[in-house]
């Protein structure tokens, strides 16, 4: 019997296996018709006297249910419709929970969101011990909350604290841990998963096990804490207050979903399951139409689309296979790239540095990251040793003869990079790709040193490489499509979101970051207290304040890049005069422990002496937090718009992804282009013009903004403007020399 992806297999022992296998999809998701199909199938097994017990499982190879169909959620237009959708879902889940015959979920692969909620509604759960088996409620990451009863069933299953932790962070739990925390009842090899679930289901026929007695619960130390905290009113208050405090430290109130989850769990605990479910459905509807959810979902869709993007427009172009990567420079960047290549992409790396000490430092760094995984029990010692052998060190070009791609992360010096190009082409294959990890030098110039410039490309990673999720690939007019596609494929294998941008000074990411950091410097020069600036931007949603970031990047590096930017783009990139005095005062930022902030063990916070160096008196009045946020954010957004207009970006989507994953642009705002679409181009333009009047031409609006404000177009959606159409008068298309 088949019904839209649900099949029933009746076995001789009285167990009916319900298998979910949505045709034509790689993974199961809960679509709008799931309510009908589930009802129909459960009706059938309920009325069948031969069926004594049910095993619910997936027919997909390596996944259970990946969650609700996000396209369906996105289509919901009103909060009421959203609430109704949740309430309908609750009916199905309640039906399973109250089913007269035992229902056991057999889970292999991901059980996320609605998938885990379905499993939670079953009477018991058995999971496979496979690495792919991961359980979680990631809705909050999309600005939503678990709307299939998860906010009520999960705390009742595993306790309030672990449940909040899972729902607020969206983290995924591997099978072994799930067993330990009581999320599943048994963990077995995949080969006996169905059989074990069937046995468990049969053993429950006619005898539903009672919940553990009070005394039994007291034996478990974690249960005692849980009891102390959640089962009495005082403890409960402490628990929820703590959770909220913890949350606000991170979200600063920008993420309403997390707050609602805490509320709803509390409601369920205090007013009962039914009240909890009602609150859940109401909250779900409210969040579904929120701007935050729309933006977070748009990022989800963008990353999904990016995964399928080869990075080139010609669909005929295929990436070439990469069997070996050569890495020049074993500093933090080089070693980080070596790690993601060898340990994540599983491609052997030849790591070269000038001398043995350099190679040792790089290998030590790679080993350090691997050791971290051993400590967290993600790897065994043996696996770690084997992984480490995939990066071999060298002080010569020996071993580069068969590299498919060579990435350089040597010192930022054009002649040195040119030397590397020539050396690689001498020892390497004729079609070896030379990728530069420069963050400031134009790729076109590096390519000029090459005998075959079509194989030269930029691969701009972010530090620390193994943690930062973005890779910005830079192509010149000469870069061959197959080269771009091959490097994009490599970046994806390294676990990165990959955007492809055109060559130009600062590419995309460095270019949009510079004017925001510059604006922060202008604010300091005006006497706005440093902590006030950083706090305003943290509240706006950035993970790090711009002044703190300047310290991290290095004040000297910022000045150097600033000069390159001014040369290329003119005065709008210039920094206030006082900044050069910081360099004279040997304030380079965190790296030498002298910057805007203090870096001694005893004292933290702003280094007040910096104001004297700059010749300003900090004054807490005058500029409001909102003004600070608008000024800094608009510099970022405006420059992003220029990049779009000049055709540096291939799409607004890439611009949003680059800003969110590379520069920490607030994800709940969806990226600079979503932001403009949401606030309205007219509004953004108006504010820029106002600031231009007050503060000067560095706020003159990007031509593309004027254009879409006039035409009523947007960056996203059906009426979207195409990139590269609005170059304007004062921007250069070609990267200027002397970088």
């Amino acid at each position: 019997m088949a019904n839209e992806g649900l099949t029933i297999e009746k076995r001789d022992d009285g167990v009916a296996i319900i298998r979910m296998d949505i045709p034509g999809e790689p993974m199961n998701t809960l679509k709008s018709n799931f309510i009908d199909t589930f009802t129909e199938v459960y009706d059938a097994v309920e009325n069948d006297a031969d069926v004594k017990a049910i095993v619910f499982t997936s027919g997909k190879k390596d996944s259970f249910i990946a969650g609700a169909d996000i396209t369906m959620l996105e289509a919901v237009e009103t909060a009421e419709d959203g609430e109704r959708l949740a309430l309908e879902g609750h009916k199905v889940m309640n039906r399973i929970e109250n089913f007269p015959k035992p229902v056991v979920a057999a889970i292999h692969g991901v059980a996320l969101g609605g998938g885990l909620e379905t499993a939670l509604a079953c009477h018991a759960r058995v999971a496979s011990d496979n690495k792919k088996t991961q359980l979680g409620l990631p809705e909050a990451q999309l600005g939503l909350l678990p709307g299939g009863g998860g906010t009520q069933r999960l705390p009742r299953q595993v306790g309030v604290q672990p449940a909040l932790d899972m729902m607020l962070t969206g983290k995924q739990i591997p099978a072994k841990k799930a067993l330990k925390m009581g999320l599943v009842d048994d963990v077995v090899p995949e080969s006996i998963l169905i059989e074990t679930a069937a046995e468990l289901a049969l053993s429950r026929v006619g005898n539903r096990p009672k919940p553990d007695s009070f005394i039994q619960q007291l034996r478990d130390k974690e249960a005692v804490t849980e009891f102390a905290l959640s089962k009495n009113p005082v403890g409960r208050k402490i628990l929820f207050d703590q959770a909220r405090k913890q949350l606000h430290k991170q979200t600063r109130g920008n993420y309403p979903a997390q707050d609602l989850i805490i509320d709803i769990v509390k409601t369920g605990l205090e007013d009962g399951f039914e009240a909890g479910l009602a609150a859940e459905a109401r909250g779900f509807g409210r969040l579904l139409i929120s701007a935050e959810a729309a933006n977070l979902m748009s990022i989800f869709f963008a990353t999904t689309a990016l995964k399928k993007d080869t990075g080139v427009d010609d669909p005929e172009v295929k990436p070439r296979e990469i069997k070996k990567v050569g890495m020049l420079g074993a500093g933090l960047m080089g070693a980080g790239i070596a790690y993601v290549t060898s340990a994540i992409a599983k491609i052997p790396v030849r790591l070269k540095d000038r001398d043995a000490d350099g190679v040792l430092a790089g290998l030590r760094y790679v080993r350090g990251i691997i050791d971290g995984r051993v400590k967290r029990k993600r790897l065994s010692d043996r696996q770690a040793d084997a992984l480490m052998l995939q990066t071999t060190g060298s002080t010569s070009f020996q071993g580069f003869q068969d590299a498919d791609v060579v990435i350089e992360a040597v010192f930022e010096d054009l002649s040195l990079k040119e030397q590397m190009v020539r050396a690689v082409e001498e020892v390497g294959r004729d079609d070896v790709i030379f990728a530069s990890n420069t963050s400031s030098l134009p790729i076109t110039k590096i390519a000029a040193a090459s005998k075959h410039p079509e194989t030269v490309i930029g691969m701009h990673y972010f530090s620390p490489v193994h943690k930062m999720p973005l890779l910005e690939i830079i192509v010149t007019d000469q870069t061959a499509d197959w080269v771009t596609a091959t490097c994009v494929a490599l970046g994806k294998k390294q676990g990165k979101h990959v955007i492809v941008v055109k060559d130009g000074v600062g590419f995309y990411t460095s270019r949009v970051l510079a004017p925001m950091m510059g604006e922060a410097a202008h604010l300091v020069a005006e006497g706005v207290p440093i902590e006030k600036i950083d706090k305003a931007m943290l509240n706006w949603g950035f993970p790090v304040g711009p002044i703190k970031l300047t310290d991290e990047v290095g004040i000297d590096v910022g000045a150097k890049v600033g000069k390159i930017m001014v040369d290329a783009f003119g005065e709008r990139m210039s920094q206030p005069e006082g900044m050069s005095r910081l360099i004279e005062d040997e304030r380079y930022g965190r790296k030498n422990g002298r910057g805007f902030y203090l870096y001694s063990d005893k004292k933290k916070g702003v280094d007040e002496s910096v104001y004297d160096v700059l010749g300003v008196k900090p004054d807490n009045k005058g500029v409001s937090d909102e003004d600070i946020a608008w000024r800094c954010a608009l510099q970022f957004v405006n420059e992003a718009c220029r990049c779009f207009g000049e055709g540096i970006l291939r799409s607004a989507r890439d611009g949003d992804i680059g800003a969110v994953f590379g520069l920490g642009f607030p994800p709940f705002r969806g990226g600079p282009f979503r932001f403009v679409d949401q606030v309205g181009a007219k509004e953004v333009l108006g504010r820029l013009r106002e600031l231009e009047k007050q503060l000067g031409p560095r706020f003159s609006p990007a031509p593309v903004l004027e254009e879409i404000a006039r035409s009523g177009q947007t960056f996203h959606g059906p009426d979207a403007i195409q990139p590269g159409q609005s170059k304007g008068s004062h921007s250069q298309n070609e990267p200027r020399a002397n970088a």
């Binding site: 052997p348 040792l360 290998l363 080993r367």
Partner: protein, 430 residues
């Protein structure tokens, strides 16, 4: 043995620096060392790992954790897991054996590409427990109560708890290697002076070879895992400024009163690994490899360990030469493993003696005269060091590369081994 286009080609050879016991490699097991040298060799040679069909590898000091070192190498270095692998042990001639096993598989047509080699650590060793403690521990696993268990251990004496290091003495005779060398020195009348002179020669030649860059491409630089705090580029046992007088000052190590064998004229305890990439001649040529050379013939021989234990080279060599159809005078190079200067000089004496040949081999001709300009010309185990299982492959690579430099064609590598064994291999450049 030579067969049309079916000769066995040595495509590449590499080794780690050989390091003094408990120096740079103090934390690395034989397997760790083997993994380093095999991965590095695969990085340097333009060969697709999918082309490799077999790995035969060896170590002399056994590993209790990973007894089949060859297979562990395949699994740890990221080679295709489908590659067959097994381990061999033939004491100091172990990597002769692993090389021959790959060679024979190639000649039989079973495979066309394989990796051979050997590794040993004198620093990370399997220390075992006394026989009585071992018995007690095994018995304790069968005990049914705590009382029973206590009774088992109560029977032990303090001396039973002393750990037992691996033996360096012959199992059958109880004589250590050094004592055997001492015995040979006395019976063959090899003087202390001659031994010291030979050791001095070995160190001087090895130091010269390094200085001239001859070893640069056959020895890898090791960045020492897991700490990656130090790297080692060269062998660290070679005396760079060797002076003959220095050797004379040392006291005899095995016979304090009448002995002549000292630490200075014996090979030292060493950590290291080596590897060879072997291929059928046809395939190597088809892929356009610049091969190091070919294996022309080989032989193993054995003698009574109660006699002169380390005379193996004199027994194995004439057989290998016969199989190659050549004489000592046809050779452009000889590389004889230097376990002890006394052993080398006993063997060279035997090579040149018609009487020895008649008596011990039943052959009417002497094996052949030694041309010292062709004998161990870039140093040997006395100076470079001797990580037991790694030495044979070290000799093969070192000899073939020297053969090329000299534009020579034929060479002999030979070694003695515990148990009275001997190995010999004839190599040719073209």
């Amino acid at each position: 043995m030579e067969s049309n286009g079916k000769r066995v080609a040595v495509v590449a050879g590499l080794r780690t620096p050989f390091a003094k016991q408990l120096s740079a490699f103090r934390e690395l097991s034989a397997l760790d060392l083997a993994n380093l040298v095999v991965s590095e060799m695969l990085q340097r040679v333009d060969v697709d790992p999918n082309e490799i069909q077999q790995v035969v590898y060896g170590q002399v000091a056994p590993s209790l954790q990973a007894p089949n070192i060859a297979r562990e190498i395949v699994l740890a270095t990221g080679m295709p897991k489908s590659i067959d692998a097994y381990s061999v042990s033939r004491a100091c001639a172990t990597s002769y054996q692993s090389t021959v096993n790959i060679a024979e598989s190639i000649m039989a047509g079973a495979i066309d590409t394989g990796i051979a080699g050997g590794a040993d650590s004198a620093s990370v060793l399997p220390i075992s427990v006394s026989t009585r403690l071992a018995e007690a521990l095994v018995a304790a696993t069968k005990a049914r109560s705590i009382g029973e268990r206590a009774q088992i251990f109560a029977g032990l004496r303090p001396r039973d708890l002393v750990p037992v290091p691996p033996a360096i003495a012959e199992f059958s005779t109880g004589l250590s290697m050094g004592e055997s060398a001492e015995k040979m020195a006395k019976e063959n009348h090899v003087s202390r002076k001659a031994q010291d002179e030979f050791a001095h020669r070995s160190h001087s030649l090895a130091a010269k070879a390094w200085a001239e860059g001859k070893f640069d491409d056959e020895v890898m630089e090791v960045f020492v895992p897991d700490r990656f705090k130090e790297s080692i580029r060269e062998d660290n046992l070679i005396r760079k400024n060797s002076e003959l007088e220095g050797y004379a000052k040392l006291k005899p190590a095995f016979d304090r009163k009448h002995g002549t064998v000292t630490a200075g004229n014996s090979s030292p305890l060493t950590d290291g690994a080596s590897a060879l990439l072997l291929m059928s001649e046809d395939k190597a040529r088809a892929h356009g490899f610049d091969v190091l050379g070919f294996i022309r013939s080989y032989a193993f021989a054995a003698l009574d360990p109660a006699g002169q234990l380390l005379m193996g080279p004199s027994y194995a060599t004439p057989i290998a030469l016969d199989r190659a159809g050549i004489k000592v005078s046809d050779l452009d190079l000889i590389d004889m493993h230097e376990a002890f200067a006394a052993q080398i000089l006993s063997n060279t004496q035997a090579f040149e003696s018609k009487e020895w040949s008649e008596k011990n081999l039943g052959r009417s001709e002497k094996i052949g005269d030694i041309d010292w300009d062709k004998f161990n010309v870039t140093g040997g185990s006395l100076s470079i060091g001797h990580p037991f299982a790694a030495t044979g492959a070290r000799q093969i690579t070192q000899t073939l590369r020297e053969l090329k430099r000299r534009d020579g064609n034929l060479a002999l590598c030979t070694a003695c081994a515990a148990g009275g064994l001997g190995a010999a291999m004839v190599l040719e450049a073209e």
